[in-house]
């Protein structure tokens, strides 16, 4: 009987983790364009977006997962619907992922805690708004016009991001109980053979 081969990892991520990252990235882009709530309040897509991002990072449970999800979803968004922002739309997806990772590291991955998850969701959603603002400035839009309504937008982004984080934390807790979340330390990279 042949011994089972050790699972291959890329950047410490198992195949399962990579599949989760790809799926979540696709779901974020799909949710952004198809799950529209007629709320007409800026940042409301954060409910789905931040919930999915948080769930993805929660399941993979490795630093860098959020950045990878953000990067992949950004690439998908550029390919599917670049809109007026062109390739810069990718940054809007990348930034929340990066911030989600920072929050994951800061709070030692405790996305099962509602308070931490809500903060992470709010921070990631406000990162999206900040990126939109910077993209607008880069596109040469006058600061005065971009800043109009920014206060309301920032507040609603925080609220919807926090709601998304809260929803995500509920799912992460349930998944944790069922053992879906792998809390083992990342597998060591195979050492390079020396001559």
């Amino acid at each position: 009987m042949r011994a089972a081969e050790p699972a291959r990892t890329v950047w410490g991520l198992s195949l399962r983790s990579r599949i989760v990252i790809a799926l979540i990235a696709a779901m974020i882009v799909t949710a952004k364009f198809y799950l529209r709530i007629p709320l007409h309040v800026p940042g409301h897509s954060g409910i789905f977006w931040m919930a999915l991002l948080l769930i993805g990072v929660g399941i993979v449970h490795r630093p860098g997962a959020g950045t990878l999800i953000g990067f992949l979803s950004g690439l998908l968004a550029i390919a599917v619907l670049p809109g007026r922002e062109g390739i810069l739309i990718g940054l809007k997806y990348f930034a929340p992922g990066l911030v989600m990772d920072v929050m994951w590291i800061t709070f030692a991955g405790r996305f099962d805690k509602a308070a931490v998850a809500m903060l992470a969701g709010a921070a990631a959603n406000i990162a999206k708004l900040s990126t939109s603002y910077v993209i607008g400035l880069l596109a040469g839009i006058p600061h005065g016009y971009l800043a109009l309504g920014l206060g309301v937008a920032a507040t609603s982004h925080l609220v919807f991001g926090a709601l998304g984080g809260w929803v995500g934390s509920i799912v992460v807790r349930r998944l944790d109980r069922t053992g879906v979340i792998d809390r083992r330390p990342p597998s060591p990279q195979p050492e390079a053979k020396t001559a």
Binding site: R84, S130, Y145, L148
Partner: protein, 150 residues
Amino acid sequence: MLDRLDQQTKRILLAVLALVLIAGSAWALDLTARKKSERYEVSVTSGDDVLATFSLEDLKAMEARRVLMQGQLQEGPALLDVLAAAGVEDFNSVMIYGMGLRDEGQITLSRAEISEEVLLDFAARGTVKLCGPDIAWADRVRDVERLDVR
């Protein structure tokens, strides 16, 4: 254990503080921009000729109408009233130009498409947006700057 809890609480408080600061900065930028953008105007043109220019206050002084779009009440002067105030009675079409920050920034409506329910709705941003029951949500023109009659 207690130290660890305290550290976690400290981090949470710091994160909350950072988010409040960001939101506060956004409000400060917004309020500063509002003061500077008091000159927001909507002009009515016919080619190169400027027929009239309306400030936000001028538009607010006109009779406000209301329409319901996707469950939201839109309120502002009718496009026809604004054009009439600029002395425009007969026209074939109007090109509505916006700032193009969050939408395509323009739409052309023929005279037949403009009913009394096509409005310049007052937006929370301190600008007006073109809307109407027969105008798709995605086709609205926000932050309207110019109405060019033809």
